[in-house]
Amino acid sequence: MNFATLLPELKPALDTLATLWPIPLIKSSSWAMPMILCLHVLALTVLGGATILPGLRLMNVGMTSVPASTIERTVRPWLWGALIVLAITGLIMVAVNPMKVYRSPAFFVKVFALIPALMLSLGVVRSIASRDGVLTQQARILAAIAAALWAAAILIFATSYFAAPGTLHITMAAWLIVMAFGANRTRIVLGAITGVIIVWMFFSTMLLHNPLDDYDLVMEIDRYTARVFALIVGCFLLWEFTRTRTPEAASLIANRLIGILAILAWITVTAAGRWIGLGGGGG
């Protein structure tokens, strides 16, 4: 799935996009594009800090002595600054080579995943944090819609032949969250399962690919192993952060999950973006 198959009527407009000012100027300069790309990466790191800190605070980890409203208010200008720079540099990157993203399934996932990511950061996290943990009905509904959209984005990401490996970054981020903030027993069990998966991957490559030289078989095994691993990590994440030792208000659990989702949503956008140049341009 990509924009070319969904919006074929856009193609003539995109052809002229590359001729609009200041794009030809940027293309003819040897240092303009590198600078744009560097700004995109730098803004990306600022976005990282501005989304991870409030997300963790909603999970009630990290700077727990600082009110969530303080954290959210402090990172807000950096979040907006990063988003603006990312949007401008991103638009330039698209305009300089529209066909590349037009046909890219990863780019479609990126744009699609931007919607829940923005809803979560600018809408839900802001609402909960500014109220120091109070989850309003509106925020709850917005979060549910964002979660559904994100799930759809992940599904498209994972079923895209060329871009699917990028979903491993989201699995890894979820894995890190469980390993960093989960209970000891959870960490040990997940760690052991991860070890088994790594050994399985090693042996499936050595025993199946090398002697049989069946590349397609190994690709299929890789694909299914990655999906199984993602499901396992997802289950661990949900179980670890929805269970409580003390009777807690449901909204606290909801806040925890929203904090995690807010972080993972931006990882999804980044991972999809990274895979634009790496996969093929096919459907």
Partner: protein, 247 residues
Amino acid sequence: MFHDLLQWLQDVPGATDGDPSTSWSQQLAGSLHLWALTEGTHVVSLMLFAGTILMVDLRMLGLAFKGVPYSTLNSKVLPLTIAGFVLVTLTGLVLFFSNPVHYYHSVWFRAKVLFIFIAAANIFWFHYRIQKSLPEWDNRPNPPVAVKVAAGISLASWIFVIVFGRLMAFVFFECESMPPGSFGYAFAECESEMRAINEMNEEFSEEATEEAGEEAVDETVEEPAEGAADEAAPDAATEATPAEPQE
């Protein structure tokens, strides 16, 4: 300096029957997904590492989290930064291993390593000298000048590290295009890389002349077939162009 060691690292470990194109380094460089996943992890981990170090540095500069004691960020945020740093470094080492000789001679990579060392020295200086006076300025929204200097050096050096890392993908200052005797040529120790490249080119041209000698014998037999192939080629060329807009 390390050119030969890195050439060995690129050619030998994992190679079967002494064929350098089968080494682990080459396998990684030619891999369909493993290199891409490593590079992607490198960039995504940057969000964790650089994103959190930004916040800590901003506190040290007195620009953010002014009401929060520095010790809170030190104990709650810095562990995240360290975790991010471990990820970035591990993936970075794996990426380096995929093409060690090329990266070793890259002007951008060398500048990147230089600024990593500057950032590390800065961290040691801050941790072992300035942090001792922490109780005096922990709660101050406006920390002392030395603290701000450390934060400024930290921010600047990591920005350079990221920028130089991004620029590594561009071919501005490759050894082949820099004049011998220029600063860039010396900084990248191009002499050893150019020697290796010239040796490789000589080997290829020797093989090519050998093959050409063999082909010259074959060509006299195949000429009639070539004439037929030339007639077929213009048709293929005209067929190719109408197909493009239909993509």
